[in-house]
């Protein structure tokens, strides 16, 4: 009876084999009972797509790279601007003018050269989103505009991809996690994007850089929990953060049984683009 057990244990040791450098690099993960060597291996095999290398995507990308997520995709069609650097900590002053995806890739690989980074220096639209997200295990929405958030939601629901939604403004932030077949989706909560200029954006209303850091890190944490199976995800809950009050709250989110994309009454069967916003500010 002992032989098969030893063989199994031996097999497990081999499959859990880390290099000495990996053991040292990931030692703080490996020592955690909720992650351990198995969880670290899952992270190293995982593929996470971050849409937006801005305030939310920057901290998320840095922490996921540091965590050893094996493949990270980063999508952004923008270039680094001086006004980004107050919060988009993955970029540096020397990166001004460079595509954000290149700057983000270099920063991630500088932290952890073991990972693979795929860059998507292109606009994310209904034409390409399904093909891009299909190869990933988990998606992070780090976008600002609402048409993009609805596009990501719909594509992830239709492709059955879990994703983290987040938003920030002024001193506040919020996030939720969608898991196929479990929690509500973004469209359960908000039916349609608001008209242009109906709700303030960070550009108009401002945002504290550290708030972006807090919420982006929480998105990274959701990805780590999904991949490793540790803890409880923000599925069916919205986590809100008010920095001025130093207050976190979780608000229960029901499913909408009439949701246009995730319910049995689905009317949206393919991703689509809402009206393009007028890009009059630079």
């Amino acid at each position: 009876m002992r032989v098969p057990i030893l063989r199994e244990a031996s097999f497990e040791r081999n499959s859990m084999a880390f290099t000495n450098e990996q053991l040292e690099r990931y030692s703080r993960h490996i020592i955690l009972k909720e992650i351990g060597p198995k969880g670290q291996k899952k992270l190293m095999k995982a593929k996470v797509l971050i849409i937006g290398a801005g305030g939310l995507g920057a901290p998320a990308a840095l922490y996921l790279a540091a965590a050893g997520v094996g493949t990270i995709g980063i999508a952004d069609a923008d270039s680094v601007d001086l006004s980004n650097l107050q919060r988009q900590v993955i970029h540096s002053t020397a990166d001004i003018g460079r595509p954000k995806v290149e700057s983000a890739r270099d920063s991630m690989l500088a932290i952890n050269p073991e990972i693979t980074v795929h860059t998507y220096y292109e606009y994310i639209t209904s034409e390409n989103i399904s093909g891009i997200i299909r190869d990933y295990d988990f998606v992070l929405d780090g976008t600002d505009n609402f048409p993009a958030k609805f596009l990501i939601n719909d594509a992830c629901v239709l492709e059955e991809k879990p994703f983290s939604h987040a938003g920030i403004i002024r001193f506040e932030g919020q996030l939720m996690t969608y898991v196929p077949g479990e929690g509500p989706c973004y469209r359960c909560v908000f039916k349609e994007p608001p008209p242009k200029d109906a709700v303030p954006t960070c550009r108009e209303a401002g945002v504290v850089g550290a708030v972006a850091g807090v919420i982006g890190c929480l998105q990274a944490m959701e990805a780590v929990k999904y991949i490793t199976g540790a803890g409880d995800l923000l599925t069916g809950r919205l986590l809100t953060y008010n920095a001025l009050r130093s207050q976190f709250r979780t608000v229960p989110l029901p499913r909408d049984s009439h949701c246009a994309v995730c319910s049995g009454e689905r009317t949206i069967h393919v991703p689509f683009d809402y009206e393009l916003p007028v890009c009059d500010l630079k």
Binding site: I51, G52, A53, G54, G55, L56, G57, A75, D76, A77, D78, D81, S83, N84, Q88, Y123, I124, T125, G142, T143, D144, N145, F146, P147, A148, L151, A166, G167, I168, I169, E172, G173, Q174, C188, V189, F190, P194, A198, V199, T201, C202, R203, V207, A212, I215, G216, L238, R249, V251, P252, L253, P254, D256, D273, L276, P277, V278, C279, L281, K282
Partner: protein
Amino acid sequence: MERGLFMTIVVAGERKEYADGLTVEELIEAEKVETPQYVTVTVNDTFLSNAERASRSLQEGDVVEFLYFMGGGTIPSLCATND
């Protein structure tokens, strides 16, 4: 305070006293909710449509949440601006 004239409800996590029978629409006004037409409201973890706000009276112990659109991050799609 006379019994029945006021009720205690929970609004965005805080216990508050309001006149008994206050409608959700009146609560939104009293709470000075920003861009109310674009705010999702839940009462006792159930979505309330905009059309129901005027007719839905609140009762003792009701739990009301206001869910706001929040952008943030960056604009990688559709147009290349910097938020």
